[in-house]
Amino acid sequence: MLDTRYRVEIPGGINLDAQVVGPIPRFFAFAIDLCIRGVIIFVLSLMSIPFGTFGVGGGFFLILLFAIEWLYPVLFEVFWRGQTPGKKALGISVINDDLTPVSLGTSLVRNLLRTVDFLPLFYLAGLVTMLSNRHFQRLGDLAAGTLVISVRESARAAPVPDIEPLAPSTPLLRTEQTSIIDFLQRSPQLSGPRQQELADILEGVTHQKGDDGVRQLHRIGAWFLGLR
């Protein structure tokens, strides 16, 4: 089964799921960060002009340039939940491969190895490694043991529908319950005939056909949503 899911099982048999992020969103995140860094460096270079190009100003500027180039991603990743501004904009973040937050050490390793990923020009090595392993890790990620995953936005709670709930006639597994709730909540996007088609599959559970089946399923969904 092809998927972008990354799963870690922690003691107690609990599965933690995350969605790994591929090259396209990461490209945009990087581009945004690049622009931000560019603006910062531009402003700094303007500020350093009155200090003299080769004197104190130049030296100060070079030190700052170094710090920004190397520490910008590290500081953001460590202190801002694994997100640089670009990553934040794309809703992605860096995380250890056991799904714990990145620490200073891992973030440093993954960002120092950018030089290797950059080879032979503009991150070709990084792109090739990303596409040659299942979790889209570039060389720096592999060395540091980190992943880039998408941050789940907390889903806005859908309004609870105003219909009379109905207890299901037969016990259902949790996944089945959620798909019935999904059916209820996504029905505005589904066409009428498609809804009937889906409801007809569950004729054995609802004992209704067609439109009645759809209504019945909606009521069961409302019951699973907590209406009583």
């Binding site: 998927d3 972008t4 945009f28 794309l90 596409l131 889906l198």
Partner: protein, 496 residues
């Protein structure tokens, strides 16, 4: 369309996640997709290259313009692979999808969402007004993602092309005398060929990813609009109920048969009926739905324990604002900075000293241990819950052991012998037992001491003690007597 055979996990994804899924698809099916792309492209491109051998960029431009044509075969194969049908490259080559190709090579060549729109033409075979209407439904909120896909894949193509060309240029030996640039800095014919071939290679390499990303976006939209995931889940539910029924009837029949033949007692049969697997799983599902178990808690963020929720984490720190205001008011920009270097130096030195100080303080524990000998580990007084101080022992240990044994206090008797041994070993042989050691680790420490008779004895004693303590196996009285003699021989104070 048989959703049971769907090879991707159907669930609702965001646009970017769908594109990532497309990249996974391209990874999984890379060989057939790549081969199909190359096979569709190779014959005509070879002819073009021969025709324009003096200016291969023309061949490249034409091949690039014909991209919508090359991309169709990989897409066709992927649509078969998606439902686990193995479409051989040759076989799909014969049913090459060429319908409605002309618009795609003329005005639609400028479309920025080609990979996303392609499936509607190639797989659904819609055209004209029908196609437009379908696209309006499909595009929805994903136009920007489709655009992003096109843009980034174009960048990747350039990147791969120049990467290959540059690497080739780097690794061409000087002696071959292949000049890429002439003395005016223009590309030579060799250079043009090098870039053309690199670009063609880059095009074929990136194409599977680009078209699969668009295809996955299209799929994602259909999963959303047609609720494929819900259909799969509903079908599984029906399947589960049906197999539950067959299982329970099968079990019922076998139980009845067993009852008839008289192999099973009727009580046992009833118990089996109560706990057969299908009804049990129903029961479990019912219990899990109840108030006690049916609680779900969604935690989406990492946070520290006891972290106050009120802290506004993204707020700008107050002191920084104050500092910036102070900076603005009090620091005059001027060109005289003779003192600035000194202050900067001082600042850096102070910063360094601060860091060094902090590190020293942070790692004071390990550093202290580095310097001197590690502090003497305290002699343990209690091992495995046994008091091993010399004061706790009776004057004549073997006699006391045998007396306790006579009173049937086996555990106390052997416990006394064992802890007396440990105590003596600590006292007399200065063995560094720690409270964290196990019995076997103690025994191997004794062995490491190098006195063979002693370690033999202690191994025996440990084994007997462990069997009694944990296995509740009482040894023979002779064995205990033997151990007592051994103790007097090996561990008592009197010279033997």
């Amino acid at each position: 369309m048989d959703l049971d055979k769907l090879q991707v996990n159907a669930c609702t994804r965001s646009g970017w996640q769908a594109v990532d899924l497309g990249f996974q698809m391209a990874r999984a099916w890379f060989r057939p997709l790549y081969l199909a792309g190359v096979m569709a492209m190779l014959p005509l491109t070879a002819v073009l290259l021969l025709l324009f051998w003096k200016s291969p960029f023309w061949a490249l431009a034409i091949a690039w313009w014909l991209k919508p044509f090359w991309e169709r075969l990989p897409l066709f194969i992927a649509s078969r692979k998606l439902f686990d049908e193995d479409a051989g490259v040759w076989q799909s080559f014969r049913s090459f999808p060429v319908k409605d190709i002309l618009p795609w090579l003329l005005w639609r060549r400028f479309s920025m969402q080609r990979a996303f729109d392609n499936p509607v033409t190639v797989l659904e075979e819609l055209r004209g007004g029908q196609r437009r209407q379908r696209l309006r439904v499909l595009h929805g909120k994903y136009s920007d993602v489709a655009l992003g896909n096109q843009f980034v894949c174009f960048c990747f193509e350039l990147l791969v092309c120049f990467g290959i060309a540059l690497t080739l240029d780097f690794f061409t030996p000087e002696s071959l005398d292949l000049k890429v640039y002439d003395r005016y800095g223009d590309l030579t014919l060799v250079g043009e060929w090098m870039f053309t071939l690199s670009a063609l290679l880059a095009m074929t390499l990136v194409m599977p990813f680009h078209s699969m990303a668009g295809f996955a976006l299209y799929l994602n939209r259909r999963i959303e609009l047609e609720a494929w995931d819900i259909e799969i889940s509903f079908r599984n539910l029906v399947q589960r109920k049906r197999s539950d029924v067959t299982r329970s009837t099968g079990l019922l029949a076998s139980v009845l048969l067993a009852g008839l033949v008289g192999l099973a007692a009727s009580g046992g049969a009833e118990a089996a009926l109560e706990h057969d697997r299908s009804s049990a799983s129903d029961l479990i599902a019912e219990v899990l739905q109840g108030e006690d178990y049916g609680q779900e808690k969604v935690v989406r963020k990492w946070r520290f324990k006891d972290w106050s929720e009120e802290v506004e984490e993204e707020s700008f720190p107050e002191w920084l604002i104050e500092f910036l205001e102070w900076w603005e008011q009090n620091i005059q920009w001027s060109t005289d900075f003779s003192g600035a270097a000194f202050w900067l130096k001082l600042l850096l030195v102070l910063l360094f000293l601060g860091c060094a100080g902090y590190l020293l303080w942070r790692y004071r524990g390990p550093l202290a241990r580095l310097g001197g000998k590690s502090p003497e580990a305290a002699v343990p007084e209690v091992l495995f819950g046994l008091d091993v101080t010399p004061q706790s022992l009776p004057p004549d240990v073997p006699a006391q052991v045998m007396r306790l044994w006579g009173e049937d206090a086996y555990r106390e008797a052997l416990g006394l012998l064992y802890r007396a041994s440990l105590s003596r070993l600590i006292d007399k042989y200065e063995l560094a037992f720690r409270a964290s050691h196990t019995e076997a680790e103690c025994a191997s420490l004794v062995k490491a001491r190098g006195i063979e008779s002693l370690s033999d004895y202690f191994w025996q004693l440990t084994r007997v003690w462990r069997e009694l303590a944990y296995g509740h196996r009482i040894p023979a009285k002779e064995r205990v007597q033997q151990l007592c003699h051994g103790w007097s021989r090996e561990l008592s104070d009197e010279p033997h």
